[in-house]
């Protein structure tokens, strides 16, 4: 089992969700995040005073998947989130040792 984590542009969330549903994903966790990569931040101006804002708003999403589905899930996220401009984000895959569905106590692949 793997945990696929992605940081994407907030306005691409719906497209990513649709792409994940299309490959059979039935659960997804989303949270608001802030960060910077090569994109760096942006400038805000209040009464003529300029401020460099280092961290820009991003959306972080997490999906637990079977080993067999990792590649198509990553592909779905990349396809859904891409705009071809700087700041599109990243996807990474980390091993998940155990997964438990709290309601039933099911474990492993059955809990996904």
């Amino acid at each position: 089992m793997k945990l696929v984590v992605a940081v994407i542009k907030p306005f691409k969330l719906d497209e990513v969700k649709d792409a994940l549903e299309a490959v059979g994903i039935r659960g997804l966790t989303v949270s608001d995040a802030r960060g910077f990569g090569r994109q760096k931040g942006h400038t805000e101006v209040y009464r003529g005073a300029e401020y460099q804002v280092d961290f820009v708003p991003k959306t972080r999403l997490e999906v637990a998947v079977d080993d067999d589905h990792v590649d198509e899930v990553v592909k779905a996220i990349v396809t859904g989130a891409r705009t071809d401009s700087i700041g599109d984000g990243k996807v990474w895959v980390i091993p998940a040792e155990q997964i438990v569905r709290i309601r039933t106590g099911e474990k492993g692949g059955d809990a996904i």
Partner: protein
Amino acid sequence: MDTGDTAWVLVSSALVLFMTPGLALFYGGMVRAKNVLGTLMHSVFAMGLITILWVLVGYTLAFGSDTGGLIGGLDFLGFHNVGNEAHPAGLGATIPHSLFATYQMMFAIITPALITGAFAERIKFSGYVAFMSAWLLFVYAPVAHWVFHPDGWLFKLGALDFAGGTVVHINAGIAALAVVLVVGKRRGFGKEPMVPHNLTMTILGTGILWFGWFGFNAGSALGANGLAASAFLATNLGAAAGAVGWALTESRKDRKATTLGVASGAVAGLVAITPAAGFVGPLGAIAIGLSGGIVCSWAVGLKFKLGYDDSLDVVGVHLAGGIVGSLLLGVFSTVAVNELGTDGLLAGGGMALMGKQIVAVLATLAFSFVVTMGIAKAVEATIGLRVTQEDEIVGIDLSQHSEVGYSLSETSGSFAARPEAPPAPATTGARVVVTEGGGA
């Protein structure tokens, strides 16, 4: 007594009172989220504190029988002799004295509240209460007497101030500078970004201020008449031209027009037109509002160049805008609008009025700066004016008021009962677990 005049000044009093919660929102949106309630409190609590002080002593010091053109006597202490007859010196000759005194109360509330934008985000609540009380009695009341009382020395000199360019805006603006020089800069000023946390709130506050300002300026005619109508129009033109002036300036300088710029410009235009609203025609009002917007959009940058921390630009907007309006009155004033006024430069009156306006501006600047600095230092030395470094980092909402403005997530913890509170009766349904001595 005139019922129409009385009705209009009653409504105007309510309009001017409404400006103070408007100011609270205007300022509250511009601070960081951790200071929003404390900043709202600085305006809203003034409605409580100043109202009472005004009735007890403030009013009589401003509008009581004259002593040397400098201050009022004690004949109206506790609103004694303030009743249904008009003010004995003919202030608002067609409305009850009690109404004139109440209308003036609303000005006395918002003027010190304007100052609070300068020391926002770092003031102890007890120090704020002491400062505001002393400032009302020792600065606001005398200056109001000089300018608005028929025996006041600036009134007799012939300086014009229709609704408070000197008394309200220059007075509050220079006091703001004096008090921030005593209080000092916020931690991280000029290094860390201190960006407004909710400009939607600021825009709503701007709308309420603009709306209430009709009572402030058109109400200052103290009657339901042509002068009130003329001042009403001039007020709207001042605000409009100020908003346009600021937006034009920043779209040239910073490439973009901002909502905060338009809001600030509207207020700057309103400030500038305040002393002139009942003395200038529509074109004069546009010129004054536009000048207010342009000059103030430049003046808000002074704090970074000169190194004082005027958090929400009270100096840049109220001091600069008040000076612009008071001096341009010497250019645009015309007796065609108000026969009790004086012709300024463009109406063929020469520089005489301008000279008097300069005297009024300088006198207000000097008196208010010196006395405010004395009050601020006295409060700082006794009660303390500034929060501790730790309290400033936590934010004044939590450190001064034990509240937070935005509880956006479920909080964890437990109900902390005060030790003397009786135990909650056991009832079915709702259960409150009372931890002895306070849990959290």
